[in-house]
Amino acid sequence: MKILVAVKRVADPNVKVRALADGSGVDLANVKMTMNPFDEIAVEEAVRLKEAGRANEIVVVSIGPEKSAETLRTALAMGADRGLLVRTEATVEPLAVAKILKAVAEAEKPDVIITGKQAIDDDANQTGQMLSALLGWGQGTFASKLVVGDKAIEVTREIDGGLQTVSLALPALVTADLRLNEPRYASLPNIMKAKKKPIDERTPADYGVAVEPRLTVVRVHEPATRKAGIKVGSVGELVERLRMEAGVL
């Protein structure tokens, strides 16, 4: 079985990103970049399936600038076999990403594609679903557990009311949620080995995909911040203020 994993390079989730003063975008100059945390989980799941003998090849793909190759290297150090960088300096929206990934999937013919459930920068939560739709495959979004069979994959999904398990005919697409696994940190020997693993490079044009955005960003601003309130001295004072001042009790 072959697994394709999509990984995105994003701002580190621990960084508080700010809007540019002119409202044209966010300030990413000098911000530490890393692999989207959900994508680390996706890579980890693929590597575990390989270690368990369920998969024999893991291909990782990233769409973005030259530096996205670093993100691919991280995935290779975690245990993926080869990388594909679809290089573009443009902002690529989820719909265009899905179209590129569809073309990659048609060339690579994976049995399973795993993406993160959302990228923590744009928080769009849609690329996996779109890709699955374009391929005409079944989708197991927000996955917290996978059981891979020969013809189907069982995906347990985190939904608003609890958990839902679906069975998807292969090939199928899965999006990884936080509790699917805890990703490993790559060991030094594996980081060294990853330097020798191949990374292919293409452009969106190679796949005949136009990346022109459909959404125009008109303005980017920071929401009004909440002001810190007061510290109360006791539980009694808290109850009194909630009742008399805030009127919520």
Partner: protein, 316 residues
């Protein structure tokens, strides 16, 4: 302009998120139709027909739709799409599962998690866990968007009910089958719509402490229980109680955070609450930067004390 709202419902009951999505649709202007897709869901359709602003309810009632699997529901919506200029769903896990599939099949770029409608094609949405708000204009002829329920008021009840029309259901694409669900049952109000939420973090240290320390306070207040990711990951409570960037995004009248540090991903889920209370033993915990009322204390003492005080008030 005609707008289709995909309803969130439990077959016999309409979810409040639907009424909120209808009011978001109202801000785009135009005629609003609601699609209720499920199994044995006429009651939900009748409730939708009673919402102010709804001109027509489409009822798709079939066993094949009982679990709202993305593939058949998306096929249904795509089949109806030619009659609409915009398609909306609340950004519940169901809406987030289904709508991007619809958007891709229509070759439209979805606008996710809209928090304000500034015009028929102009929307605000949070990025970076809500630290930044983006205003976007969609150039697609048809708009597909998910809307954050907590950012819109619920549509009120109409004087007269809208008509209900049954729609034909396309063949199931057959890529997915339902296996089972494990839904949390609770007598407490639902987290998403609760007026008061009592939330616990890693500091609770066990499932048992959630029940013995937090639950009595929640029950006396008629509150829902929420949790941080750390508490869910540790298995103290089920996943559906997670509040945050990747859990539920809520805006109750009162949010009481107990033993939660206030990571940006957690704040993303609750910082629009009307009143925030934080109980934390670390005076420098970031949660205090957003709390209206902070109490520096050990929660294992303060929460039972708060419960006693609230219970005494309730009796008085």
């Amino acid at each position: 302009m005609t707008i289709l709202v995909l309803a969130e419902h439990h077959d016999t009951q309409l979810d409040e998120a639907t009424a909120k999505a209808v009011s978001a649709a109202g801000r785009m202007g135009g005629e609003i139709h609601v699609l209720v897709a499920g199994s044995g869901c006429r009651a939900a359709a009748e409730a939708a027909a009673g919402l102010a602003g709804v001109a027509l309810v489409l009822l798709a009632d079939a066993p094949s739709l009982s679990n709202r699997l993305a593939e058949p529901v998306a096929a249904l919506v795509v089949g109806l799409a030619s009659g609409y200029d915009a398609i909306l769903a609340p950004s519940t896990t169901s809406g987030r599962n289904i709508l991007p599939r619809v958007a891709a099949l229509l070759d439209v770029m979805q606008i996710s998690d809209v928090i304000a409608v500034d015009g028929p094609d102009l929307f605000q949405r949070p990025i970076y866990a809500g630290n930044v708000i983006q205003t976007v204009r969609s150039t697609d002829a048809k708009k597909v968007l998910t809307v954050r329920a907590s950012s819109f008021p619920a549509a009120s009840i109409a004087a007269a009910a809208a008509p209900i029309e049954t729609v034909a259901i396309p063949e199931d694409p057959g890529r997915s089958t339902f296996v089972r669900s494990e839904l949390s049952r609770s007598e407490r109000p639902e987290l998403a719509g609760a007026r008061i939420v009592v939330s616990g973090g890693r500091a609770l240290a066990s499932a048992e402490n959630f029940e013995t320390v937090l639950a009595p306070l929640a029950d006396t207040l008629g509150a829902a229980i929420g949790a941080s990711r750390a508490a869910v990951d540790a298995g103290y409570v089920s996943n559906d109680l997670q509040v945050g960037q990747t859990g539920k995004i809520i805006a109750p009248d009162l949010y009481i955070a107990c033993g939660i540090s206030g990571a940006i991903q957690h704040l993303a889920g609750m910082k629009d609450s009307r009143v925030i209370v934080a109980i934390n033993k670390d005076p420098d915990a970031p949660i205090f930067q957003v709390a209206d009322y902070g109490l520096v204390a050990d929660l294992f003492e303060a929460v039972p004390e708060l419960h006693t005080a609230v219970a005494a008030e309730a009796r008085a």
